[in-house]
Amino acid sequence: MLAYTAKRLLTLIPTLLAATILVFLFVHLIPGDPAAILLGDTATPEEVAQLSAELGFDRPLWIQYFLWLGNVLQGDLGTSIFFREPVTAVIGSGAETSILLASMTMVWIIILGLPIGVLSATKHGTWIDQITSSGAMLAASVPTFWLGLYLIMIFSVTLGWFPSSGFPSLSDEGGITNLRYLILPSLTLAAPNAALIVRLVRASMLDVAREDHVRTARAKGLHPARVAIKHVFRNALIAVAAAFGFTFAALISEAVVTETVFSLPGIGRLVVQSILRRDYPVIQGVILVIVVLYMVINLLVDLAYARLDPRVSLK
């Protein structure tokens, strides 16, 4: 297991290098000159050229890349053109919100997706299954921004249960109770993904339930609930675990929309704003952090997969 993990970490290196090239190139493909945007409409071409030179944008692209890469390897993601602060600090300021939002979303996905999926599968063909299945279908098809706006309308505006926007840090006044700001956004973000997990758990459990070893389990005289959880669900979990990697990828893109709808000071909103400002160093930095995170999550999913299924041998 240890050797496998080490090997997987090593193979991450070339992938990461390739990722840095892609990230760098894509960002520079965005039309628009950052210096011009920074200086505003009234700037003269000379002023723009001067700022471009100061920021290093007049140099050949490949030199810019290697300079950037060299700094990245030393942990320096550059300086934000807009904020005039180190990119790491800019990302850090959005990280708390995004990490808390992602964690709460994962918690919702697990505490909603898994049990409802199990219920739907064990009661398949009954009205309970029909309600949960069509509910999941609905949740999966509703656009994130629409759901977010409706949740705000119902729970913030009409009922007044939760705040509609913003997120003060946990270290601000209110402390842990500030998490209530994230309840609606995390639910918005969780809904389509939890729905996916519901449908996946249901489908894989129905698949597994037809397998011979489940009949063996029933032949032992086990209670149906024990057969469903310990034998059917446990095997269905193998397929579900693989889906968690994809879920994370979906979360990232949906987080951008959700953070915008709920005006959360998170990384998703930072990306959108930075693209509008042509703040290359921030865009590059954020995307790189997301890429690394995505790789790590997928490595964890692979390791979890091997834990769940003894037939997968880690060599």
């Binding site: 032992k220 086990l222 003894p310």
Partner: protein, 324 residues
């Protein structure tokens, strides 16, 4: 009183709003320490009969529509689900056709055996594990104290079937139902598994119901035989009596279709035609479209069960030379 008495059992499959009869009035009994073989082609209802006895018919589509199953003095079909589960895997156990897929791939075999024991007996985890090692020794798995921690995919088909047998025997069942236990195995492994079952029966006095489509296996291992055709018992007798004089044309057909090594034949004698599907309604004897002896009488009237010899029953108008 016999340990297991199946009387006039009817099973039907729901299909398109209709109930199609699959098992039609099957009766037999098994005593302690006795092996009953049920033989027949695929789809004759032998597996469904065994699942009905075990209580594994499961959900909505397959249903017992009549008859009774008495086991150890209890009427199984009137028991509640928890009462039924208390018997399953405990006093009555089952092994299946597919050893490759009958074990849960994610758990160690020792844990799977222990689960069965701890379901029915109040014993500690470690005691259950010790018992699992004992059982693996009993079914002749080499290195049982190490193999107890193996996963199913680390074992061969024959070994997995031994594990299934160990699991089935874990609570000293009075009745063991084996549904085609050797069909998926190599011939040499087949023999070992059958010998193991016979050996364990001698030691423990377990009654066995052996389901097979292989007359050879039945002849070697069973005390008595029931030949099933399309949901009915065509012929039933003690093994020696049955093979001494085959009363039903279907049984004769089955036997003739087995190749014999020291006889040089060009063609094996097969039974013409095929088993009629459930949807096809047949009048008279279910076997008459395939039977060489069939007359118009066979097509119009189904034969009753008659005594061909003492303890040798048959459902055929021609058995014993009469047509009544």
């Amino acid at each position: 009183m016999a340990l297991l008495e199946v009387e006039n059992l009817h099973i039907a499959v729901g299909s398109g709003g209709k109930l199609l009869p699959v098992v039609q009035g099957v009766s037999f009994c098994v005593d302690e320490n006795e092996t009953l073989g049920i033989v027949g082609e695929s789809g004759c209802g032998k597996s469904l009969t065994s699942l009905a006895i075990m209580g594994l018919l499961g959900d909505s589509t397959v249903r017992i529509t009549g008859g009774s199953i008495r086991f150890d003095g209890m009427d199984l079909l009137t028991l509640s689900a928890p009462e039924r589960r208390a018997i399953m895997g405990n006093r009555m156990a089952m092994i299946f056709q597919e050893p490759m897929t009958s074990l849960n791939p994610v758990y160690r075999i020792g844990d799977q055996i222990a689960e069965s024991i701890r379901q029915h007996q109040q014993i500690s985890r470690s005691a259950a594990r010790d018992r699992a090692v004992e059982l693996l020794t009993l079914v002749r798995i080499p290195n049982p104290s190490e193999r107890v921690d193996s996963f199913p995919h680390q074992m061969s088909g024959g070994q997995r079937q031994r594990v299934m047998i160990a699991m089935a025997l874990s609570c000293d069942p009075k009745l063991l139902i084996a549904d085609e236990p050797t069909t998926a195995l190599d011939v040499t492994v087949q023999k070992e598994v059958l010998e193991l079952m016979a050996d364990l029966q001698d030691r423990m006095g377990t009654a066995i119901v052996l389901i097979s489509h292989d007359l050879g296996v039945i002849a070697e291992t069973c005390d008595k035989v029931a030949v099933m055709y399309r949901g009915k018992i065509a012929e039933a007798a003690a093994t020696a009596d049955l093979f001494a004089e085959l009363a039903h044309p279907y049984t004769r057909g089955l036997l003739n279709s087995i190749p014999v090594v020291d006889r040089d034949v060009e063609w094996l004698e097969a039974i013409p035609g095929r088993v009629p599907t459930l949807e096809e309604t047949l009048t008279g004897c279910a076997f008459h479209p395939r039977c060489a002896l069939a007359t118009d009488f066979c097509a119009s009237r189904a034969p009753e069960t008659s005594q061909f010899k003492p303890n040798h029953s048959v459902q055929c108008h021609f058995a014993g030379g009469s047509t009544t």
